[in-house]
Symmetry: D2
Subunit: 305 residues, 4 copies
Amino acid sequence: MQNLLDDAIKYGKKFAVQGKPATYIPELSKADPGMLGVAVVNVSGQSWKSGDYDSPFTIQSISKVAALMLAVMDRGEDYVFSKVGMEPTGDPFNSIIKLETIRTSKPLNPMINAGAIAVDSLIAGKNTEDKINRLISFIRQLCHNDKICYDEDVYKSESSTGFRNRALANFMKDAGIIEGEVEEVLDLYFKQCSIKVNAVDIALMGATLAEDGISPITGKRLIPRSIARLVKTFMVTCGMYDASGEFAVRVGLPAKSGVGGGIMATVPGKMGIGVFGPGLDEKGNSAGGIKVLEYISNKLDLSIF
Amino acid sequence: MQNLLDDAIKYGKKFAVQGKPATYIPELSKADPGMLGVAVVNVSGQSWKSGDYDSPFTIQSISKVAALMLAVMDRGEDYVFSKVGMEPTGDPFNSIIKLETIRTSKPLNPMINAGAIAVDSLIAGKNTEDKINRLISFIRQLCHNDKICYDEDVYKSESSTGFRNRALANFMKDAGIIEGEVEEVLDLYFKQCSIKVNAVDIALMGATLAEDGISPITGKRLIPRSIARLVKTFMVTCGMYDASGEFAVRVGLPAKSGVGGGIMATVPGKMGIGVFGPGLDEKGNSAGGIKVLEYISNKLDLSIF
Amino acid sequence: MQNLLDDAIKYGKKFAVQGKPATYIPELSKADPGMLGVAVVNVSGQSWKSGDYDSPFTIQSISKVAALMLAVMDRGEDYVFSKVGMEPTGDPFNSIIKLETIRTSKPLNPMINAGAIAVDSLIAGKNTEDKINRLISFIRQLCHNDKICYDEDVYKSESSTGFRNRALANFMKDAGIIEGEVEEVLDLYFKQCSIKVNAVDIALMGATLAEDGISPITGKRLIPRSIARLVKTFMVTCGMYDASGEFAVRVGLPAKSGVGGGIMATVPGKMGIGVFGPGLDEKGNSAGGIKVLEYISNKLDLSIF
Amino acid sequence: MQNLLDDAIKYGKKFAVQGKPATYIPELSKADPGMLGVAVVNVSGQSWKSGDYDSPFTIQSISKVAALMLAVMDRGEDYVFSKVGMEPTGDPFNSIIKLETIRTSKPLNPMINAGAIAVDSLIAGKNTEDKINRLISFIRQLCHNDKICYDEDVYKSESSTGFRNRALANFMKDAGIIEGEVEEVLDLYFKQCSIKVNAVDIALMGATLAEDGISPITGKRLIPRSIARLVKTFMVTCGMYDASGEFAVRVGLPAKSGVGGGIMATVPGKMGIGVFGPGLDEKGNSAGGIKVLEYISNKLDLSIF
């Protein structure tokens, strides 16, 4: 396994350098696109690492997986999915183009920004501080790392430039999808995106999902089995932005990427894989990270299909 | 297994009667929504059946899976996917609504009608007759049934009312996606949709996909492994129209439905499942068939997630 | 003329009571839909009135005409129309549906909310207070009424519920259309919409436009001729929301309506007409007001076509 | 007037050469973009001409005006506008983007291709030949020219490449907007677009509209007054494709352009103007023709606004 990871990093480097760090969040644009790291944790808790596996990065959209699990635990699947859809696509089978049929303002699924913001508005807590603390505490458990916290500079950078997310949130507020204060929900969302992790952390999160919710380190159940399966489904159908279909074909694993450069992947029953490479392709996924996962999946024949 | 299938049919009947046959193709509207059948074929070729498993129905969109495999064998994956996309969704992560970003006229994926028509234009053959004969011959192999042919009445019904598909095809012709004669491609498409099968036929097709392309009856490889995996991916992400996401959550199997009432499902490494129930839900999937699959998947814990 | 106006009010009342006050701004929903008033001011400054001509109402979208004139005087036509379009429609002549072709985030024209918010961001002034004071002062001149000011309650009602406008403004901020602070531009917009006028006030504004910018009372030029003509064009092509086309056919006059129930119309070279009726039709225009204008236009043969 | 027209042509030539002939219809692409002609006919029947005023060109979309008048005379305004809308835009006043609200498949207005095809399906006649003969006969009257007929080569060129129009027509057939045979309606449409005229012909058509339907040559009423006004309204709001708004601002006259290079304009109560210049701008309007009209309108102060 160690050789495999070293080879995967060597292979992925060629693609990593062609990527570019996210520029729309000023703090993220400073990252070195040549960095690339990977960590694997199996369901027995054994781990292997290679490259920049201990470099910190912000979790960004990978946090959507954790937030969704917490919201479903807090409010139940039925209520959450009355506010957000389950579909990667809204197309009826014969539409000429996609939008002809959008009849509700309900976001399509919990992995797009609009859906994730709607999900955040459902997390329980007395106030925003309480909610973000609950979410961080949950992510610490999933990653078995008590030091995880959010990065103040990235948070401020996201909050001061997040006009698109502000537009989405206000649109949903107008449509009755979001119930609380718009700015409070956005504050939670921006903080959650700014949580700092490394490849090992998210490999552990992936390993916990591989075991349907049981921590490979403590053996404790952190998430009900049905909820672990639920989020793995969304990771397959819409975890890699609009490259999810191609990723399913080429890699065949439930995975969630973030514009911070991380990808959290899970191999059901076997292991979690965390990769980090801040050089992004034009779809917003880690250019090198995708190649590392493709390499590992093909060598070990891990595709679920 | 036999008891399980009998119970599944009993369970599914309650939902089947709430469905309605497809009305937009006059010939299909005559079906009895109370019918419900299931067949299972495992990778050793053993089979079990229950209910209306031998009632004939038209294959409709399930044929898209076979047509895609044939086109990829004829033209190669790269060429086919230069004409049709791989994505269940075209959303970038932060779009307010979906259509803002459609930049090409390339259909999103090969499971929507537009994509399937584009795929049909890539099937090799001297003329339409040759192409439909090649496709039928391929489907006969996949289903291990030499008697399979298309239904003349349904074909005529589809052809004389298929204005929406005609609009899609002409739109793609204008955009340079379709190369040949529009009416010839449509003729192939309407004939292919009108192919008559039963639940056992499509269970065998599913079992062949379960073994990554090897027929469970003859042991012969009918499809290259990579192509079998490719189509299973599309079955998960967009095989059930715009209920694909929910189906992935509730059932967790690669599957393809048709408005004739059939659903072809595959359990990787294990078995194929064919169901038939012409009463459709509002998304166009067999109302009883989905419930039969949900029942079987949950009882046998078959979800790939 | 007096008899004509009395008859028009009598005729319009039947339609007025079928309308409903705007409900999305809580303060507006309190209005009595049975009210209906009209005022005519000709280019010599003579005036005629009937019905509820002196009832105050909030100017709402009618203010967009004044704001556009002020912004063009402040920044020049070229700069303003680099930020907002001139088109009632974005359709190329052969589009299947409209949105396929939106390539920029530039709002289509200055009469839709997005366009008006973008225009507001171009009004000169040291700060929001200075800007709203300049706009109110300009509207006072156009209406020859020094007492015009904005309604504090309506302003607060609009500001606390304006999530849709907030979404639009943040979307344009993200796209680089709006340059300043989003909340400051919105504050100006909400205040401007809350300006209180009556039918006589807006009839005077219409009469000033009828004379291409010269006040019928003072004989002073308030707007350059080219700018007066510019706004009359937008009043014809998009002044009545998405009933502009039908209004052009039935009435044939440049006009701008607001959800407060007012419509300001202008008969080039002849007169201005102000109507007020808070009962709105489903397109958001005064149900009775439209009928009053149709009656007057037909009786006096005022259509510009 | 003669000097004015000569100057207008001189001025327009500079812009004409920057235009390009339509390329999507092979026959049209052969035209010389340097050509430019103008004709004016006043309501007394006097005429002035300059440049390439007698060069024949195909009428293309200008025919939509005549077809609409004929259909309304045949079926009545109410029935025609139950099949096609009156709006230049479908936007509600607060839509973030345009398509969110399309709820019907009814084309927005009779000047876009979809609307014109729907209008054609309403023209009375025993068969397509009868219908095209009735339409040509009507256009001959409007242009006071008995020799007008359609160009066989252009018709064949349009018919064999008109996939986009075929898509539109089939889409509307599916939606129940078009009642007859799709290919028959398209045949009428392609023939009508291929009618050959010159600048003098369309100047006469414009003069007839200027007098609300009375021929300036014979003094006979050819169109009811209300229908003449109706079409002039559409010419203002959507006669110049998606440059209609800007044309209204810069020229201020009801006008209809065609990709053959013609523009038919009308000055209510005064005159008709016909221009021809096959070099098109990127919106599909005659590049030189627009400038000729702008020159004439500004010099004679003809804007209706």
